[in-house]
Symmetry: C2
Subunit: 717 residues, 2 copies
């Protein structure tokens, strides 16, 4: 093991310190004009009020779930190794609550720093683009670093507390509850936040832009503060919890797969490798963040500056993967697997860019289709979304097969494993471990990616604050430039999140099957689709994805309806609002959106938790595995469609707004033309797709994995 | 076997005679005014011109494929039983061509009678609703009866020609090429026809209703004849070929499953059961058609009259299932399985109605969402489409599990099978056979369903003819009433087609695995999702469905673009068209649509044939099975979304047009309001969903099955 494990707490603590330094830097910056501060204060209050109420609901649900979980496992769970059913039960319940608490904290941190950084970014934009870029990225980085280090320290901490260093072969089974708790909170955080943000966005657009004919972010629109709050509670709090649970669940899954090799070699390096390689990525991300804008007097191209940080970080990660893998695992085949994972994440970043940025064919095709009205805009955008599944699936499949091949090649020459498992089983275990290494390779970059993601809503908010506070033209130009880059980075993160979910999926259900094997004592658990139960299980898994999308999309529609009613009411009852002489009641809109979003998140959330349990109890473990696998495939594809169609519609509208669309005679078709109106329809349709259903599907996929991992003992025949 | 096999040729010949009698009846009716005849002649010419060119392309593709197929199988195929690879190769190629020819004939018949019946229906509508209903339904029945009897006689004929009665254990493997040929032609027929009809529809609507502001089916619109032609080449020719290949493929699959039981019992009843039970359904359908309108002086409610026929036929089918199953198979468990299948088809008819008819919550919800514009209309309709997957999948899953259970219960007591296979394998084979019996139970009703389906485009055309020929108000009222019913029956057929595809899917890939077992000599072929190749195979299968939808939806967009250009050009170059003094050049529009549709059908068509072959060759037989299974699941769900969302949007628009939508103050929001415009957008988006991509997916699912059945020998490791 080479004593390299100290890197985990070291990097975790370094990252926490770096986050504090960055946070102090952001908070110490000037807060701008009183008008700006007033708007920011309203956003802050609204966001905090939402989070408080949301966390109360989630807290109650979590405690109830933890108790039920403990009771169920206590009543039914069998012995695993030297762990009794009762011990498994209470440890899982406690781990669940710790995971839930960490996930909630990750979401809270993401949002808290974001509602500080938005104002500072707006203020910095009055001075220079470079400063505005640095403030917003550093704000994002606080969230990114803390989320990742929290996941690292949390998994390591609970692992140590549960005796992981004395019995590393069973401890991972005890900590799967941590992953479930994290996913559970992330699901509701992402659902509630996603519904909130898009209900506010769609509602304020429809009643403001469409009905009243006032511009976006106009202070006369009572829903505008709710819209700005939404960016924070959806994109920041939701995404923070989402990526926290991803990294936690994938760490745990990879550790479980490592057990097979640990048992053969008695070298715990195989279990701890995931944690160490992630530590390296964390350190690389810190460097990446500081590189952005460094040594430049002023930034002219914000995207290029971010890219410089991204590439610095990626190269450092690649070096880190090589070093850590050789030191701990000593195999070039596994190095190759890790680099395949890293390379896949880079490909996904560019693939998403191709499909959702205005410089390429897909978005331009949608913009052109807008010339014949909203119907062709929608058809074209939906076709682009569907099309993206092709390259996405091919890249994922190639990465899976290639990393599996690398792992199998390694195992074919690795004598301890062959001696312990026999040649055939060793190659299977090695192949699986190869995909786990690839997943870890991909996830090294997560902290920087999350920083770029949180950067998006911060700049979006900064733009809104500048607009509402009537900041000078130049300031708004700067925030607009950052906002455009933020749109791209938000889309990239979604591509990244899906790719990592896909790569991790195979790892996670292999971990599930490992657990079933351990419990049943069987050597192989085939998930045979020719068995009618397994087939039906898979079919229902895919169906859950489709049905869940229906519920979440409808939830946005319903919540938006509540907001529209309220804004209309305010316009009707107080004519001074439209004249600009009376301020609308922003707080009431925030309050109504909060209530509606929390109301609407419960049904889809509970469905996703309860339905798999019913399927598992009725159709049993193999059908559950197929439910999970086919559900994951469907989830990946559907999320790809929704995220990319949404992103492409959004940018097709921006393409038209930047006067790049022309008619047959060469005349510009810009803002205010029917083509633009058509593009606005597409953008609105895409809102719940890309910011509610799509991101919720990321969490759904992981939640299915962690649920099955935790409840595996219940599903044994 | 009880000598009951004579029923197959008997019912086939009776159905052919009945079809001729019905066709004579239809053709002998009055042809209406000269104006009507002129319009109908234009439609007839356009449809025939399209079919001629389409069939030339399909013919070339079919011959090339047959030759390649023969060469590939000849080079690689192993011995199956006493059949050499070379014999398998040439017999498969010939069967492919025969299947292709029959499928093409089925499509041609469907369209030919439809372009005769449309004019007679329009003429009949000048006299009475009852006569118009009878003419259009009987026209549809000609197609329904001939398609089903052709499939019955075709399968039976090639089975006999290939020595099925002397060696029934291998003959089904020789005739799988028939199913592949049928699917191959159906795919291109449905694709080409589907693209044609919706490109013409979308194109003529956008340039006519939206740009020029003239009503639907207005004679000044140069694309209006192309639109009417489209109904015939898409809904009639396409659907005819689609249901032909469904019934053929499912018959063959069920016969292959019957072989296992034949080998145990030496009673060929187990192989011929599917053909006999279908014969009974064919006879029941003839009765059903004659019941509609019989004994009534005048029909006031066309839907109720059709329902009377439907229920008469269903009750007769139920009786037929009981009698045939008891006589041939002598098991109440299998009777139950057959009735489960029949019951499932009835449930689907009502389920589709709930989701796509204006009397219930889903469509009304979409209509209400139209009040806030096109974006909310689209969001709401898409959510409804996604929602429908829930009940659909639950019903299918329940039917599969229940019929499997019935079959297993039967086998558990059936000594010959247990003696031959052993208890465990006997129960598996019995369960599978149970699902096959359920599929056959469901498919008994297919001829009547197809009659109701073809009824739809006939009435739609009749309405168009009446409109263009300036028929009196009363006539148009009657054709409108029939058209509304036709919309419902078209939606029902799609629900039915999906349910039968789903039920048959399990049967078809079981047949595929039976073939792989036979070739490899292995007792079991597990399709184990934990194998990375199998997992990737499944993932790529689901991806093919998504990507295929992208291609087909885009194809409609592109072809519509060509039409829009042409109509605009005609309006621009000949101002007399808009004034109504000069007739537009309908033929040129028909010609352009034909070319565009044929051009656009090639890429998606070839993709679905070639991609599975590549996956099978690279990842091998088990991965291919998973490709097929997961692809089928995804296809069922996606087609359900597309068909139902499209149907619901269409009827939400009709709901508004019939003045049933009100605003908050209770005022009617009818035609010409922004709510109606929003609903038109949804309807247009739904067009390619429900009439191009959705129906093409039905064929895709079956094609995957027949391809794998035929090429199984190539995929063995």
């Amino acid at each position: 093991m080479g004593g390299i494990l100290w890197l985990v707490p070291f990097s975790g603590i370094v990252a926490v310190i770096a986050a504090f330094v960055l946070a102090r830097d952001v908070i110490g910056r000037p807060k701008g004009t009183p008008e700006m501060q007033e708007v920011a204060a309203a956003i802050y209050e609204g966001a905090m009020a939402f989070l408080k109420r949301q966390y109360r609901t989630i807290g109650i649900l979590s405690v109830v779930t933890a108790v039920l979980l403990g009771m169920l496992l206590g009543a039914i769970a069998p012995q695993i190794g030297d762990v009794s059913g009762a011990e498994l039960a209470w440890r899982t319940s406690v781990a669940f609550l710790v995971g839930a608490a960490c996930s909630a904290a990750a979401g809270f941190i993401g949002m808290w720093i974001s509602v500080q950084a938005n104002l500072r970014t707006a203020a910095a934009a009055t001075r220079s683009l470079k400063e505005a870029l640095q403030v917003s990225l550093r704000g994002g980085a606080v969230s990114g670093l803390l989320v990742v280090s929290l996941s690292l320290l949390g998994v390591m901490g609970i692992f140590a507390a549960y005796g992981g260093f004395t019995r590393p072969d069973v401890a991972p089974y005890l900590i799967v509850g941590f992953g479930f708790g994290a996913s559970f909170v992330a699901l509701f955080a992402q659902l509630g936040g996603g519904i909130y943000t898009k209900a506010a966005d769609v509602g304020s657009d429809l009643v403001g832009k469409v009905e009243a004919g006032i511009p976006e972010d106009d202070p006369r629109n009572a829903a505008v503060v709710a819209d700005l709050v939404g960016d924070n509670v959806g994109d920041c709090a939701g995404r923070g919890a989402d990526l926290f649970e991803s990294t936690a669940a994938e760490n745990i899954g990879a550790m479980i797969l490592g057990i097979a090799i640990y048992l053969a070699t008695q070298d715990a390096a195989w279990i701890f490798f995931p944690l160490v390689v992630r530590s390296v990525g964390l350190l690389a991300s810190i460097v990446g963040v500081y590189v952005v804008g460094a040594g430049q007097a002023e930034v002219t191209n914000a995207q290029a500056a971010l890219d410089r940080g991204y590439w610095t970080m990626t190269v450092l990660c690649a070096i880190g993967i090589v070093v850590v893998t050789m030191v701990m695992l000593n195999s070039w085949w596994l190095v190759a697997a890790g680099l395949i994972g890293l390379g896949t994440s880079v490909i996904f970043v560019y693939l998403t860019q191709y499909y959702t940025a205005g410089s390429w064919r897909p978005v331009q095709e949608i913009a052109r289709a807008s010339r014949t009205g909203p119907a062709t805009n929608i058809i074209s955008g939906f076709a682009v979304g569907l099309e993206t599944t092709g390259p996405t699936a091919l890249v994922i499949s190639a990465a899976l097969l290639a990393s599996y091949y690398c792992g199998a090649q390694w195992a074919a020459d690795y004598q301890p494993l062959i001696t312990y498992l026999g040649a055939e089983e060793a190659i299977l275990a090695g192949g699986l471990f190869g995909t786990a290494v690839a997943t870890m390779g991909m996830l090294t970059t997560v902290a920087y990616i999350l920083a770029m993601d949180t950067f998006g809503p911060i700049t979006d908010n900064a733009g809104g604050i500048a607009e509402m506070a009537n900041a000078p033209e130049e300031t708004r130009h700067r925030t607009d430039a950052l906002d455009a880059v933020g749109n791209t980075t938000k889309a990239l993160t979604k591509g990244y999140a899906i790719a990592s979910a896909a790569l991790a999926a195979f790892l996670l259900f292999s971990a599930y099957l490992d657990e079933v094997k351990k419990i049943t004592g069987l050597a192989r658990i085939p998930v045979d689709l020719t068995d009618v139960n397994v087939f039906v299980g898979g079919f229902l898994g895919a169906t859950l994805v489709f049905f869940f999308c229906a519920l979440t999309i409808r939830a946005v529609g319903k919540a938006a309806g509540d907001i529209i009613e309220e804004v209309r009411r305010q316009f009707r009852e107080e004519p001074g609002i439209m004249l600009g002489t009376v301020k609308p009641d922003y707080a009431r809109c925030v309050d109504i959106t909060t209530k509606a979003a929390l109301r609407e998140m419960v049904v889809p959330g509970i469905l996703v938790v309860v339905f798999p349990v019913i399927v598992g109890l009725v159709l049993k473990a193999e059908a559950m595995a197929s439910f999970l696998m086919v559900g994951t495939m469907a989830g990946i594809l559907m999320a790809t469609v929704l995220n990319n169609a949404g992103g492409a519609w959004d940018n097709a509208k921006k393409f038209i707004e930047s006067n790049e669309l022309k008619d047959d005679a060469g005349l510009v078709l810009g803002k205010g033309t029917p083509a633009h109106a058509a593009a606005v329809v597409g953008d609105t349709v895409g809102d719940p797709f890309k910011d509610t259903s799509g991101p919720s599907l990321h969490v759904l996929i992981k939640l299915l994995s962690t649920i099955t991992l935790v409840l595996a003992p219940l599903f044994i025949r």
